[in-house]
């Protein structure tokens, strides 16, 4: 699942993927993978991203209740 919150927060701060990657000391591809939902970052990296974007973990990485329940009701093959 795409992380659009992260992408919009980054765009709001007028940062490129490379800028954010440099701030949190990861590669640009890692930021791209997180935004595309291909990679689940560790809590350490999540916190670093939140600090760089001046957001909380909830704001960037927490799914809404309704969306979360939608996901849990989905068949495994659809995920």
């Amino acid at each position: 699942m795409k992380n659009l919150k992260l992408k919009s927060a980054r765009a709001a701060m007028d940062m490129t993927q490379q800028d954010l990657a440099d701030r949190v000391n990861v590669s640009r591809q890692t930021i791209n993978s997180i935004e595309k939902g291909d990679y689940n970052p560790t809590i350490k990296l999540c916190i670093a991203i939140c600090r760089a974007l001046d957001k909380t973990l909830d704001e960037l990485f927490w799914e809404d209740e309704s969306k979360a329940s939608d996901i849990s009701s989905m068949p495994k093959s659809a995920l």
Binding site: T16, N25, V26, S27, Q29, T30, N32, E35, P41
Partner: protein
């Protein structure tokens, strides 16, 4: 000739080491890259084990292959290294964070190593090494190395080209 080549390669390696050690910033891999490298290592190692097992079975069956065991093992080792490098390249885990390798540098390194290996193979053939029964000989090790470097070279060129396009599109969207 071989000694001169070896000295040249060692000198080049020493120069690269000195340049890298002169850099103050320590190059590191991020968590995704470390994970990808771990998977690549696992894949390459298990492939090598399976390959060696298959070779042992073949040697038991066809005793003629015993003469070429060294070369066959070399094929396995080179393939595993290729597999490891290719997996890392395609997972964007080949280069460290602060390591900036341009396409020209990559092309130069891999082309040099591949070219040198193939050249040494041709030299060995010129020196009168016969190809018996069209099977691999010990001198083919250079050829195998050359092919490995060529495969890595193609991978890195393709990946770099695709990455540039992907970077542009991901920033635009």
């Amino acid at each position: 000739m071989f000694t001169v080549m070896m000295v040249a390669v060692l000198t080049l390696a020493m120069a690269v080491l000195l340049i890298y050690s002169a850099k103050k910033e320590k190059e590191t891999y991020d968590e995704r890259q470390v994970r990808a490298r771990g998977k690549a290592c696992q894949l390459a190692f298990s492939t090598l084990i399976i390959y060696i097992f298959a070779i042992m079975l073949l040697v038991e069956e066809y005793t003629l292959l015993k003469n070429y065991i060294g070369t066959l093992l070399m094929v396995g080792i080179a393939s595993s290294i290729c597999l490891f490098a290719s997996y890392c390249i395609w997972s964007d885990a080949y280069l460290a964070l602060k390591e900036e390798m341009t396409l020209a540098t990559a092309a130069f390194i891999f082309a040099c190593m591949g070219g040198l290996s193939v050249f040494l193979f041709i030299q060995a053939l010129r020196n009168g090494t016969p190809i018996e029964e069209l099977l691999l000989l010990e001198n083919c090790n250079f050829f195998i190395l050359g092919v490995s470097y060529l495969v890595m070279f193609i991978n890195i060129v393709l990946k770099t080209t695709l990455s540039q396009k992907e970077a542009e599109s991901s920033e635009e969207s």
